[in-house]
Symmetry: C2
Subunit: 196 residues, 2 copies
């Protein structure tokens, strides 16, 4: 059940300072390929939104943008994702790191993490799961392959619509190295390359 | 056809300044989860070693350490990997970035990339594919699931043996953001977390 709101409603719902704009689908890999910690949101059939922290994901195709990710069956999100086949992947800037950790430390079973972590859910266009207003990118996804779910909790997602917050230019991301330690993006270096 | 050399031979083969030591398999996720650019090596049944640059990979299980990765069927490595079901994932430090790009820009079809990129192949213990001496970590892997190969070029790998170069303490890694631009690891920040 996808939300039917138009883009204008999304922008209208956005908190002050947020300027969500459509990101061309061909640019999605630039966000995911570097391996940042992301948030994954779902909305259960009963209408309950949830959010989890995720570090196990990879691009699988550039076009259409396709992502493989692991969502543990220990996580409440697993069941909403398997049932609704919809989610949003949101990319948080380093300034959101403390909230990202709070989200990771709690379960949606006993906590409304959008309220507790002070994250703002926004209605998307293509997925029922909410966007996260504080994240600089949001990818609305649907599950397109479940063959590796039973054995590896691996879902294949197609990105249907992508949003970028132009109010957050060049945000730094974080990469989890284990036990609550994160590497923050440092300098950018450039080489001649034939590779997209 | 796994190489049968003992660990001592690996160390004996290592270039001066390299001190490859076994890394506990439970620590492998700390290397892969942050999303660094890696090298993937293979050895064809005809005995030819090849190396490619890879950014599309994710942890899939902590124990046994299991990695999902995408190897394009445009790459020569795809065929050796599918045929032999063995590979090595090597993690390069930022100082190797120019060689990583050289490897990414050329095809094993017309170039011996170990020679051209001045990378040193080392014999491993569990996989026929070579370790890369200049990389600070090397993971010997076998393919354990090919169900998503035809549709997504997605291989599931189990790490059988892991090596870490203790002569390279706390190396910084690189993350590809597209078109030859890489983000280098910056500062490390710490939070209280229940998550491994």
């Amino acid at each position: 059940m996808a939300a039917t709101s138009r883009r204008e409603q999304v922008v209208a719902d956005a908190p002050r300072g947020t300027e969500m704009k459509e990101l061309p689908l061909g640019d999605v890999y630039r966000l995911i390929e570097p391996g940042p910690v992301v948030l994954l949101t779902t909305r259960s059939r009963q209408g309950r939104a949830n959010v989890m922290t995720m570090s196990w994901h990879t691009m699988a195709k550039i076009a259409p943008p396709t992502i493989a990710c692991i969502v543990s069956s220990d996580d409440l999100s697993f069941f909403a994702l398997r049932q609704t086949k919809e989610c949003v992947i949101a990319v948080p800037p380093v300034g959101l790191a403390d909230k990202v950790v709070k989200v990771g430390n709690r379960s949606g079973r006993d906590t409304d993490k959008f309220a507790t972590a002070w994250l703002t859910p926004l209605r998307g266009e293509r997925a029922s799961a909410p966007l996260v207003a504080e994240c600089f990118a949001n990818l609305e996804c649907r599950v397109v392959d479940t063959r590796l779910v039973n054995k590896y909790n691996l879902f294949v997602l197609e990105v249907l619509k992508a949003w970028i917050d132009s109010a957050q230019p060049k945000p730094k991301t974080i990469h989890h190295v284990g036990n609550g330690a994160f590497v923050v993006d440092g300098e950018v270096i450039h080489f001649e390359s034939h590779i997209p």
